[in-house]
Symmetry: C2
Subunit: 336 residues, 2 copies
């Protein structure tokens, strides 16, 4: 890489050669072609997912470039994990604001962005395969398409929940939503450690790709939690045509989330409905529960049983902190 | 679909159900899941490509919605065709401006966009598989990821040109670049028919997917022409490590392009360097030329031999209209 680019004349080819080719995988053909190539493993199917994030909508334009890179990739990795798929690679659409190059540190920003993206790609075994870099009069926008593989017929579907299935969540719920409020300075006073933890969970989700194999082996239905546990679980149950009883008292909370929730029930509601969790929901027959839990322990991913699916098409019953059925106004996200 | 949406409360799920689910393919799982599923054909590999287009950069915001839909899909289909791949499906990232819903006719715009996209998807056998719809404070932005399949080991690469290969182009070159100038009112006076033809070629490229099988069967190297024949051909030869002699007098021109080029050599230069062709470049051993031409005729795609690749790593020699070697200032696209 040149020590300092002539920023008045940086081309897409320059960016590719300096920043993206070093983090590209084998099927990327050095990022010198029109397309990438994936040789599917015999007996496996390709799972493909796409998520777009826009500065000012899905992240803050002044978030650290490494955090932006990680989150854009990880929200897609989370979708692959929920489907039981192992990553094969990803494509990146990077729309850079027209005034990007006028800002101080444009080169450093991009170097950190690409280096961190490459570190995450290695960490999750999901190399860069290709993409497109364009200029936009709008905000920084990243769209990532991630491709994975799963044994034929084993992709875990949202529609697969069966009556009687046990319902599980991974990790802890609500940290991301509470972290967003902390990031915006809209929470009661927290310790520095709690604030750092929650904001960190908002900025940098931990996708549960280590659980993908157990999902494919044991889950009947699954999805990742991105728009809030209550809303996403309701959606999964609805498209599966089942009802459920979910005990929110069983939903795992981090100590930092507990500290904030102690300030009032509105924080619990936000934790259950707010989104940005990137944890997994799984349903499975109770007879598979022990094997699933053992596989999760082996993968070092915490899983917690929070309810069971029931015959019938009614809305799920959520048991609140007071032990009575709770209803939630599931957050509206404006138009989308 | 409701006869008139409540535009103050349209959700992504509404858009999916009303507009996108009807044009989705089998692997899309009704667009109700986190991901799409592709069962690869045994013995074939997956080819994946991504192109992003931004209003005000790659198209005009007031272009007809159907034209925007078609071009966004077709520039990706063109990449698959160049690689010899048959389409399997695509994912759409649609970023709608925040004020989109405030404009008159938002619903009609989206209906036409989605319906036309669906028509093109059927026409080219490339169904919608999934995607993401987001709001943006910026301009309308579309990013499409297209997936195709090619016999294992047969993907046509940019790097595959061999010394001695014959060099071919499809269709006619320059119409798109001249059409863009006509669209901007920056050409000498043309007949209405010529202007309509050139602007049409700019707005709605005709990807050469019918030639994909012949590309995979016969081509050593290939790419599609999107950034101008001279620049793209130079790039393909450079990454292949070969030189070439290309006779631009042999490059096929449409009658409408000829009418404009009659106004001066600057129009010829623009035709050769301007981009937006979405025709294919192919290289193949001369011994395969007759079979390739026969397959192209069978596919009803015009192909024209324009030069040959030569041993050596020097820049290609382009013979201009006067029979002498010509040099071109290959267009700069700002930062990208």
């Amino acid at each position: 890489m040149p020590p300092q680019w002539d920023e008045s004349a940086v081309t897409e080819d320059d960016l590719i050669a300096a920043l993206f080719a070093p983090i590209a995988g084998e099927g990327a053909l050095g990022l010198r072609d029109d397309a990438a190539l994936i040789a599917p493993t015999p007996g496996r199917e390709i799972v493909v997912t796409l998520d777009t994030v826009v500065a000012g909508i899905h992240f803050f334009a002044d978030d650290p470039p490494g955090a932006i890179a990680r989150k854009a990739l990880r929200v897609n990795l989370s979708d692959l994990a929920a489907k039981g798929a192992l990553p094969r690679g990803f494509l990146l659409s990077l729309s850079l604001p027209k005034d990007f190059w006028a800002g101080a540190g444009a080169q450093g920003w991009l170097e950190t962005f690409a280096r961190t993206l490459g570190e995450d790609a290695r960490r999750y075994g999901c190399p860069l395969l290709g993409g497109d870099t364009v200029a936009t009069p709008g905000p920084l926008t990243l769209s990532i398409t991630a491709l994975g593989e799963v044994a034929a017929g084993r992709m875990v579907k949202r529609t697969g929940v069966k009556p009687g299935d046990a319902l599980y969540v991974t990790g802890t719920i609500g940290d991301g939503a509470l972290g967003l409020k902390a990031r915006m300075g809209e929470t009661p006073r927290l310790t520095g450690a709690d604030e750092d933890f929650l904001v960190g969970r908002y900025l940098t989700p931990e996708p549960r790709n280590a659980l993908a194999r157990a999902m494919a082996d044991f889950a009947s239905g699954g999805m990742d939690v991105s728009d809030g546990l209550v809303g996403d679980l309701s959606k999964m149950l609805r498209v599966s045509g089942v009802a459920a009883r979910v005990d929110l008292r069983a939903v795992p909370l981090s100590p930092s989330a507990r500290a904030l929730i102690a300030h009032g029930p509105e924080w619990f509601e936000r934790a259950m409905t707010g989104g940005d969790d990137y944890e997994l929901l799984a349903s499975l027959p109770p007879g598979r529960a022990a094997a699933f839990e053992a596989a999760a322990a082996e993968a070092n991913v915490a899983v917690t049983r929070v309810g069971e699916a029931l015959a019938g098409a009614g809305a799920p019953t959520f048991i609140g902190l007071d032990g009575a059925p709770a209803t939630f106004k599931v957050g509206s996200y404006g138009h989308f």
